[in-house]
Amino acid sequence: MTFASVTAPDDSTLIVKTKTPQANMPYVSVAPNTTPIVPQHIWESKVKDLKNFRNTDFPVVGYGPWKLVGYKPDQYTTLEVNKDYFEGRAKADRLILEYFKDDDATIAALRSGQISAAWNLPATGYKTLQGLKDLMPYQQIATRWTGVEINPGAKSRTGKPLGTGNPILADPKLRLAMAYAIDRETLVKKVLNGLGTPGVGYVPPAYKQWAWTPASADAITFDLAKANSILDAAGYPKQGAYRVDPKTHKQLAFRLGTHSDDANDQQIAPYLVGWFKSIGIKLTLQPQSMSGLNDNLAKGDWDLLMDGWSTPADPTYLLSIQTCATLPKDDGSGGNTDAFFCDPQYDKLFAEQTQAFDVKQRAAIISQMQDILYKANCDIMFYNNNILWAVRTDKVANFRTGEPDADGSYPIQNLFISWKNATPVGGNSSSNAGLWIGIGIGIVVIVAAGGFFALRRRSTAAERE
């Protein structure tokens, strides 16, 4: 953000002047992913050296209906009500966030009543909560997409080719055929247990203001026959089970990088291998750690990679990683690109939307950008997975969810808006420490448990010998 000046002429006014027009300014202070505005009288007594202030002493300097007053590493965070919150005092005296490292443990804690609510639940565990007494599982519309990115020919900012990506993927017809060979409905049904929507636009569906769908003539559906005919017409003849490049006579064989610690990636990959095989394209799986995958991505050492992004309501950053400015330098450093996509028209629209203050006008520009990305097929969307919540109705009352849409999905809620009016029910209120609510947070982590187990077993076998 390029701030020129920040002034506060009175207690309830803040004026931020930016060096260039910034249409996303209204989102700057929308929690939870952005910068809260904290008045000087709140922080000045605690902050001596603003530049080096780490904000690690309790209660930390912050903004909101609760104050962060305690933290036990890897266990829980304690929030105490901020009696002076300008929008009114929250109903619960304390909120406690408990950190669960395992999804099944989170579900068990919900079922036993150890916690009153949890989110980011796994699809399988969510299904087991449906129909249980005193439990209200519900879905919030996705703020995230999962898809696959295809290397269109990794290049530096000056156009110097980078990495070991297969050059044939620069052919848009080949990428279009791949897009036709993905059955998004099946992925939603099998991988998400139906708890999501097939992916279409680049901006996730939680934010209705940026909603976009392709023109019916452009819409890509699952159609293996069409994918095959596109490849036939593009001149990729079949030799045996797979097609070949007519110039080099090499098989159409590509690497597919997956996140080795992501269970969904492991479920999606075999489907993709099968569908692509039926259009004559061979995929070889390359499971990698997240850091290894990012490293290969930056260097351009990849063909296809599983990809996923979530975004707050302002999609500026999500859109920015598709601009030419994020390509790396000639030595491969300094880049921040998602898929080495670079299109001057897209860049022009990106610059325009940063200055479009009318939301409808900005949405129209962002729609054009999504259209360009959709047709480029460098990022092919699989699905948007809903955020799965569950609340114990015997422990919490007046929890705010908003109204569900026609599909039964609830709008995305800022966390503290959901909780601000919530009151503890029953057992919790008898605690001598005041009213409190325990919430479970599943830390998104899938431990390669089998791997660790095997390692341990091997080492002990060696010791035994």
Binding site: G113, S291, G334
Partner: protein
């Protein structure tokens, strides 16, 4: 004095007078040699650790800034701030210097000193591993001795069978089954008998003894899971050691002296059979510090294993190197202790 030494002394009467002098005179050189060996191991371990973490193909800055709006110039500044752009030799000198002065640096993802991150999680880890190891050792050795002494009996077959089945069970699977049974309740087992995770109840107030009780309440399931999986190795080692001793002539001598069967086992067979188990116990103590990540994950226990896993994901090099130093150091220290204890337990080591 054990039977092995007695046998040696009987064979060489002259050794009887020299053994105590040997023991006294050679202890300090022995300790010095072992300490030197441990120090060399530690230094080699530092080189290996540094090499592994620094040849890992990864860009920590890209991972740290993923999902955060970051311009290329901000990323370059971050690289400089974290020292990722320094030459390898420079980073190695920093690493060794920091480690030897006890300053492990600051974690990149936590913005907190590595020393404090490790200290916060060391006590929970030691509590879990310590309690599980003590229980496993006592249970495993007891079962192993009984099974070996009467090998082939029903008791032997039952205890060996059960322990080997549990040894083969994946830890995370057993942990999840126990967790689901004892938290959500099944059949006569009530709901909420044990908590589904963490090490203490948030917002719990009461005297210190109540806090101890609360921690034990949280400890039972993870500890039980670990015990069930690891006690088998003590059973099998102790059992086979006892069986090895069964045919030894000194047992025949002991019986011939008219000792009761229990005394023959307890006073003669067990001390000799204990030696292989001591090695395993200490090696295990050193390695399980890192090996409990599955139990820590299932029960959301705030331990070192999970911290290492989180460090590896970025990779958060200062934290990774810090946990590596502590975990590998633990193995070296435990080996050193085992070497020392061997001298006490086994006169043959003293005589060498």
């Amino acid at each position: 004095m054990t039977d092995a030494l007695a046998a040696e002394l009987a064979a060489d009467p002259g050794a009887a007078a020299s053994a105590p002098r040997w023991y006294r005179s050679s202890f300090w050189p022995y300790l010095a040699a072992k300490l030197l060996g441990a120090a060399i191991s530690f230094l080699v371990m530092l080189v290996i650790g540094f090499t592994i973490f620094n040849v890992m193909p990864s860009d920590p800055v890209a991972t740290l800034t993923r999902q955060h709006p970051t311009s290329p110039s901000q990323m370059a500044a971050l690289r400089k701030q974290l020292g990722v752009d320094l030459p390898v030799w420079h980073r190695f000198v920093n690493f060794v210097g920091h480690t030897l002065t006890g300053n492990l640096g600051d974690s990149w993802q936590y913005h907190q000193s590595v020393g404090s991150l490790i200290t916060e999680r060391l006590w929970p880890t030691v509590l879990l591993i310590g309690s599980a190891t003590v229980i496993s050792v006592v249970l495993g050795l007891w079962l192993g001795i009984r099974s070996g002494w009467r090998h082939g009996s029903f008791f032997d077959r039952a205890s060996s069978g059960v322990s080997l089945v549990l040894w083969s069970v994946p830890t995370f699977w057993l942990g999840l089954i126990l967790l689901v049974i004892f938290t959500t309740g099944v059949g006569p087992i009530p709901t909420n008998l044990f908590p589904a995770g963490l090490m203490s109840t948030p917002g719990y107030s009461g005297p210190w003894i109540a806090h101890v009780g609360d921690t034990i309440h949280h400890l039972i399931l993870p500890c039980l899971t670990l015990v069930l999986v690891i006690f088998a190795q003590y059973v099998t080692i102790m059992r086979s050691s006892i069986i090895d001793e069964l045919g030894a002539p000194y047992l025949l001598t002991a019986r011939a002296k008219g000792l009761r069967d229990d005394d023959v086992r307890r006073k003669h067979a067990v001390p000799n059979a204990l030696l292989p188990s001591v090695t395993v116990i200490f090696l295990q103590l050193g390695t399980v510090l890192a090996g409990t990540i599955t139990v820590e994950t299932v029960y959301s226990w705030p331990g070192l294993g999970f911290l290492t896993f989180q460090a590896l994901q970025i990779p958060d090099l200062p934290l990774l190197e810090g946990t590596f130093v502590v975990l590998s150091g633990a193995v070296i220290v435990m080996n050193l202790l085992a070497d020392m204890l061997y001298r006490v337990l086994d006169p043959r080591v003293r005589a060498q």
